[in-house]
């Protein structure tokens, strides 16, 4: 089963449960009915905003912790020189 299929099936199940609860077809056991009716219509927006903030945080943190490696660059340049000299002495065309 492809990932698309799996995600579609799970999301259809969750969305149908949500709609059933929203239209009071299914009761929620431990919460007061009026409280539930206040909260439920906002749940999708809450999910969207939470996902948005998580994404923003993730991106910001990722860019903040993105490491630079100048040492690797200088080491590489030195190695390139060394390689060129060695190969020239072995009669390989470098530049």
């Amino acid at each position: 089963m492809t990932r698309l299929h799996r995600v579609s099936i799970y999301s259809s199940i969750l969305i149908s449960i949500y709609l059933l609860v929203l239209f009071e077809v299914l009761p929620i056991p431990l919460v007061d009915a009026s409280v539930a009716q206040d909260i439920l219509p906002v749940v999708p927006w809450w999910l969207l905003v939470s996902f948005g903030s998580y994404s923003l945080w993730s991106l910001g943190w990722g860019v903040f912790t993105f490491r630079d490696c100048p040492d690797a660059y200088h080491e590489l340049l030195q190695e390139i020189n060394e390689a060129k000299n060695d190969l020239r002495s072995r009669a390989v065309t470098v530049d």
Partner: protein
Amino acid sequence: MNPFASTVSLNMQGQYNTPNTHKYSVILPTYNERKNLPIIIWLLAKVFEEHQLAWEVIVVDDASPDGTQEVAIELARVYGEDKILLKPRAGKLGLGTAYIHGLDFCTGDFVIIMDADFSHHPKFIPQFIRLQQAHNLDIVTGTRYRSTSTPYLAEAQPGGVHGWDLKRKLVSRGANFLAATVLNPGVSDLTGSFRLYRLPVLRHIITLTQSKGYVFQMEMMVRARALGYTVGEVPITFVDRIFGESKLGADEVVGYAKGVWQLFKSV
């Protein structure tokens, strides 16, 4: 077949004081790499000889007009015809087919794929090999985004990038976040192409992949995970564009998003 009676094992006995009797093939697809090829092979040879590993490099050249193939022949003379194999092709036919072509000539039991433009440094190959042996992994991939390896490897240094400005880093993180959210691949660097594969694993995955370009690398990793192959990661330093400029246009971004969607639908 008795592994101690394989050609590699018999050839190595008495020559190398090493417990590692595997042979590592490096497939290098090249196009106009006349200047870089000798140096990258020098670096590879140095690393493999230092660690006493049996190795070979398969240069798959797509009819470069700048003389890459002549340089490859010179290098074969210096390092040995059995170590540097030049397997040219008639034209610029793409990366995936280059690997498939190279795989036909592999005599090793592990394959390393990498770029020939110094963005991937061969000094990380021994770390890949050590991690692979310690945990019997099928695939080890290099990651630019992590500071430690998964699973744990004591000698791993933090990864990083050189030559990327803030915008490029942001795009890179954004692309990775998108792919990670949509595909949940279990690796931190999905578009990286510095990898060590077990030969049969690479053969299996490559027959299943259909995309082109860097989506091809993503697809190989996603398919490998879906098939249940074990993957480890080692942090690498990525020195980008030591010569020349990197361009990332809007077309590439759209192409990438399309590629991620294709993978979402098909794997």
